[in-house]
Point group: C2
Chain length 275, copies 2
C-alpha cells in the first residue's frame, strides 16, 4: 500500500485530517517519563488522527535514550496509522540515499519531510520509493521563512517567489504520485496559491495551535477539490494541553476540538461546492 492510500484509509476511518506531532519537550512533560507520556497520548488520540509525525530533532537531542524512545513511540502507534518523519533532510545524492535508508528502512516511516535547497538529485533517493510519501519543504510557518522563501526569483517556470518555484519543481519531481508540500498554516494566502499550482498534491500544514495559525482559514485555503488532501499538524497545543496528570485526557479533548473544527470546515466547503 502506498503512503497516499494508507493516509486515505486512516483519514476515512477516523474522519480526520489531523496529524499530531510527537515532539517530546523534557521541560513540559508531566512526570518526566517521555515514553509513558507519548504512549498515553497515542492511546487517547489514535482514533482521531490521519497520521503521527515525530520530529527527529526532539529524539536526537536525548542521545541514546532518545533513540530508544523513538523506537518505543513508533511501536506504540497502531499499524494502520501512517508514520511521518519530520526530518527536513537534504544532502547530495549518495548521502540523501543514506538518509532515505535510515528513515524508510531502519525506522520504518511511511513518509518524510525533505528540504529542497540542494535540488533534484538530493530529493530523488526519497521520491524513488513509490510506496513512500515525500513532503518538500516549500513555505514554512516561521518568521524567517521570508528570508529566502519569499524572494522573487527568475525560475524556468517563471518569475515568482522562491517557494512557488519550489512548488513547481516539486510537481516536476512528482513522477510517481508520491510528492507533497509542507506549507504553513500561518500564511493562508500562500497556501491557497500553492493549492492552485498543485491541485492534487497532499499538503502537510504545520503551524496550527502553538504557532498561532488561524485553523479555519488555513483549512479552507489548503483543501483540494474533494475537500481533502491536507494533513493539518498540531504538536504542542495537543501534547501540552495540560501540564497536570490529566495530560492525556486534555490532549484528547484538544485533538477532538481541532479534528472537529477541520471537519466542520470541510462540511462547509462541500456544501458550497457545485455537485
Amino acid at each position: 500500500m502506498s503512503f497516499r492510500e494508507k493516509f486515505a484509509e486512516a483519514s476515512q476511518r477516523n474522519g480526520s485530517l489531523l496529524c499530531i506531532g510527537l515532539d517530546p519537550d523534557a521541560e513540559r512533560i508531566a512526570g518526566g517519563d517521555a515514553a509513558a507520556f507519548l504512549t498515553a497520548i497515542i492511546e487517547t488520540t489514535s482514533d482521531l488522527v490521519c497520521a503521527y509525525k515525530p520530529n527527529l530533532a526532539f529524539y536526537e537531542q536525548r542521545g541514546e535514550a532518545g533513540y530508544k524512545l523513538l523506537r518505543t513511540v513508533l511501536n506504540a502507534i497502531p499499524e494502520h496509522i501512517p508514520l511521518l518523519a519530520d526530518a527536513k533532510r537534504g544532502d547530495v545524492g549518495h548521502t540523501a540515499q543514506a538518509y532515505a535508508n535510515a528513515i524508510y528502512d531502519e525506522w520504518g516511516f511511511d513518509a518524510v519531510t525533505v528540504n529542497p535547497y540542494l535540488g533534484g538529485d538530493s530529493v530523488e533517493p526519497f521520491v524513488a520509493r513509490p510506496d513512500k510519501g515525500v513532503f518538500i519543504v516549500c513555505r514554512t510557518s516561521n518568521p524567517g521563512a521570508r528570508d529566502l522563501q519569499d524572494l522573487t526569483v527568475d525560475a524556468p517556470s517563471g518569475r515568482a517567489p522562491l517557494y512557488e518555484a519550489v512548488a513547481r519543481l516539486a510537481k516536476a519531481w512528482n513522477t510517481r504520485d508520491n510528492v507533497g508540500l509542507v506549507a504553513g498554516a500561518t500564511y493562508p494566502a500562500e497556501l491557497a496559491h500553492l493549492r492552485e499550482i498543485c491541485p492534487e498534491m497532499l499538503f502537510l500544514v504545520p503551524g496550527v495551535g502553538a504557532q498561532a495559525g488561524d485553523l479555519t482559514s488555513a483549512v479552507r485555503a489548503g483543501l483540494d477539490a474533494d475537500a481533502g488532501g491536507i494533513l493539518v499538524n498540531a504538536s504542542r497545543s495537543v501534547l501540552y494541553a495540560s501540564q497536570g496528570t490529566d495530560f492525556a485526557e486534555a490532549a484528547r479533548a484538544e485533538a477532538l476540538a481541532i479534528r472537529d473544527a477541520i471537519e466542520r470546515e470541510r462540511g462547509a466547503v462541500r456544501a458550497q461546492s457545485p455537485t
Copy 2:
C-alpha cells in the same frame, strides 16, 4: 577555545587545510568492520588534517549500531582535532534548538553544517553559541545545486543568484564571528565570487576527489588573504583509496597527497602576494 581557534591550531600543527569526511559505506569497507576501519583511518591520518567531518546520514542508516559507531569514531579522534558534524539541519526555531542540543551537547561536535532555506530564526540556535562553528550550506557541489541555488533572485542585498543572497544573509547572521559557508570545489568561479563577498569567513569546500573537483583551482579560488580560511574536504577518495587490507596506508598516502597539493598551492599564492 572557539571552533575557529581550534581549527587554526590544528591547521598550523599539521600544516594542513585537509578535512577528512568519515562516511562509512558498508559496501566499500575492507573486512566489513566499520569501527575498526574508521579507527585505523583516524590513526594513520590524524597528523595530516585540520578537522574530521562525519556525515550523520551514514551513521543514522545503521540504526542503533550506527549510534554506537559514531560514539566510537568521535572518541578515537585526538582531542586537538576539531569535530565537524555534516548534518545540514534546518527547522523552525524551537526544533533547530533541539538539533543544536543534539549536535553540540549530546555528541560534542565543535561545528556543524546548516541549511538556510528556513531563514534567520532557523539558524539562530546554532550561531547563538560563540564557541561553535556554523557552516551555512550556500553553493553545493552536486548537479541539482543549480535547481534553486543558481536562480536569480531580487534580494534586499541586490539582484544576484540565490547562493549569493545566502552568502550575504550569512554575513548578516555572523555577529559572533562563528559563521562560515559550504561552497563546493566543483564550481571555482562561484567559490572565488563568494570569497570576494565574504573575505574573512571560513569556507568548507567539499567535492574534492570522488566528486571530481579540480583541487588546485578550488584552493586558489577559496583561499583568504592570508592563504588560509578553507577546510578542503575529501571523503571517499581517502577512505576507499584501497579496498584491500592496506586501506589505512593507502588512505594516508592519499591524504598526504591532497594535503601537500593544497600546501603547494598556498605556497604559490603566498609567493605571488604583495608583502
